[in-house]
Symmetry: C2
Subunit: 401 residues, 2 copies
């Protein structure tokens, strides 16, 4: 059921057989999964996929799992592509759509990567995984690990979202909080993983998470009738989703399933943590560690991403761009989306809304462009995002306007 051929280093082009647990390349770069796309094109058709039930495993030929019984699923994928007419009008866009990744198990797009990554762990006989996380990836991987009967060891910043901590704890993961950033947690997990022989599944330290995220790109293409919108706006922390969407379009174009150009990919970061935006602006191929990273949007509080060079390449090759927005604009984006469309999106999604507004103002996006914004998670995972002051009545009182 899979057409995986090998793993390839996008930096030094070394290749690896896909039959053993793999982390990064010898050169330190992340590995990408390669498929026999000619063979895949003969084995599966767009028509066949259209007939299948919803969920990201409808694209199983594009995924690296060989045996169906190894698929660990909680119903992820096939998230709605929602037309946002009223919000679009407020932003100056005629064709705005939001792909709502909040409708995934564990409430974020992280479940796609976890479903694919944990399935491969199961297939390769891995019994213990470890990862640092900003929060929601840890929650997702813990839940999928529990479903697979795999032990999980997770470290996250002490100020990560409490709901993500709950997901880890309830699903039985051994969990530590770190007085620091995800980069600190990463260093600590890496050391402990070596000592205790845990498989390190930190962002891009194993090759399969990105394949799960790739399904967002496959779905966007299918939603556009095997075509592409003009622009995809993506909140970028580790950047795996953006790389995944780019990879989806590369594969679909190579197979001849998509004739359009890939969408322009826009990476959005917070002004308080904008390593990729800075590297993009300075014309660099990789980013510098952003010291003193600070934004309330925890998912994009990533001071240095292992896949930064791939994100920058994806942006440049598709004619995209990179934008940083302030925390105030992010909050404004969340509020505007709820008020106009009834969608309670996450702060990272709010950042993408803010970026859309900015890019219309600068003229990068034209009012008639087809724009897709990725809302990477449900706002309901952020119970403290605002503290409303509501009137409180006794049962014998009357409601008065």
């Amino acid at each position: 059921m899979t057409y995986i051929s090998h793993l390839e280093c996008p930096k030094c082009q070394r290749s690896y057989a896909p039959f053993r647990p793999n982390n990064t390349c010898q050169c330190g770069a992340p590995l990408l999964v390669r498929y026999d796309l000619d063979d895949m094109g003969r084995g599966i058709s767009r028509r066949e996929i259209k007939k299948r039930p919803p969920g990201m495993w409808r694209y199983r030929e594009f995924l690296p799992v060989a045996r169906e019984e190894n698929i660990v699923s909680l119903g992820e994928g096939s998230t709605p592509m929602l037309t946002a007419g009223r919000l679009g009008k407020a932003l100056g866009l005629e064709h705005l759509q939001i792909k709502d990744e909040g409708l995934n198990p564990t409430g974020t797009f992280k479940s796609r990567g976890a479903s694919c990554g944990i399935s491969r762990c199961k297939e390769l006989g891995i019994g213990k995984i470890a990862m640092p996380t900003a929060g929601h990836a840890g929650g997702a991987w813990s839940c999928y690990a529990a479903r697979a009967g795999i032990e999980a060891f997770i470290a996250m910043p002490v100020d990560a979202e409490r709901v993500a901590m709950l997901e880890c704890v309830l699903s039985g993961a051994k969990t530590w909080l770190v007085r620091g950033l995800i980069s600190d947690a990463g260093r600590m997990i890496s050391k402990a993983a070596a000592k205790y022989e845990w498989f390190d599944v930190a962002t891009l330290k194993e090759p399969y998470r990105i394949e799960g995220k790739k399904t967002m790109g496959l779905e966007i293409a299918e939603d556009f009738d095997w075509g592409a919108p003009d622009v995809v706006i993506y909140p970028t922390g580790g950047g795996v989703g953006l790389i995944g969407i780019w990879k989806a379009y590369q594969e679909l174009i190579q197979m001849g399933w998509v004739k359009d150009k890939p969408p322009k990919l826009v990476a959005v970061q917070a002004e308080g943590c904008m390593p990729i935006v800075r590297a993009y602006q300075e014309g660099k191929e990789s980013s510098e560690f952003h010291t003193g990273a600070k934004t309330f949007a925890g998912g994009i509080r990533v001071p240095k991403a292992l896949g930064d060079f791939l994100v920058l390449q994806a942006i440049r090759e598709t004619g995209g761009t990179a934008v940083a927005v302030s925390d105030e604009e992010i909050m404004e984006g969340v509020k505007l989306t709820a008020l106009t469309e009834g969608m309670f999106i996450c702060p990272e999604g709010g950042a993408a809304i803010a970026a859309a507004r900015r890019l219309v103002q600068t003229g990068y996006i034209q009012p008639e462009d087809k724009v897709v914004i990725l809302n990477t998670g449900a706002g309901i995972k952020y119970p403290d995002i605002v503290r409303p002051e509501l009137p409180v009545l006794n049962p014998d009182e009357e409601i008065v306007l």
Copy 2:
């Protein structure tokens, strides 16, 4: 696109034309939507439905909205039916599946009722709605109202989930908290609705919410290849979901699409608020107000439901039963499901898990029965459900097992 014929009172059999806003029957009972099922059977086939994209509006012929442009959708429905082998084993069940309604917009099954109800409000030209809520229904209806450009007025208990309050406030609903129960909020909303001319959309006070919930039953039938599991276990507050599933099977059987008997419907309540369980045990046709209602599962803290007689009828006609479980058992159900399956379910879902265990022990459910448990919402909407004590490390410390 709809085959709606009229509205019918299940108590006194009066009928009403469906072209105006309707609340309850003159006799005070809730109204049910009736369709021309013969005509529907000629107009749509199971095969046709199978081809359609996911979401509850794939069953639009079974729903009361006449014009497609009136559909207000956030991508609700087509939630996953997940096999729960490890949990089933722990409970003594060989064929356990969980239908995870947490994968809806706003994180609960309430979005189905809101999508259908608000769509009909739009179709009938209603500009202002009002409702009492335990929390999540209010959040859902507020969000869908915002998407439709309809004003919402909501009252809920002061101890309702904070996340549901956020949904109301962010989507622009005017929101009040009440030092009391949903029944107190209901009385206050009813009075204010009359005064300010708001359309009262309290549970079963309008006929369309139940039609949205009915899609859960349509999906279960389709998941079982237009058949039925042996038992469906449902946490029951207002009971609309249970009535909806029953109504779905009645319609499908009448159309000849389903040849099986409907599933045995099991209503689950909390020991601290069990009006329907008590009425069932006492052989009564309707329930008594449960004074001093108390359970941490807010969605089933409903002391008296308007549709109680329909719930009791559904249970009895399908050979189902009614069970009350303790708050400790509910919490145990939540924890066991997360640990064994990686699913973070809501307390109400936990109650259904606890009921399953109980009914296996009493012999009502046989180990080989096909059992479907409805998890009505995502656990991530309950950030305070447990307060984990986690180890906190400084960045220079080491992770030690």
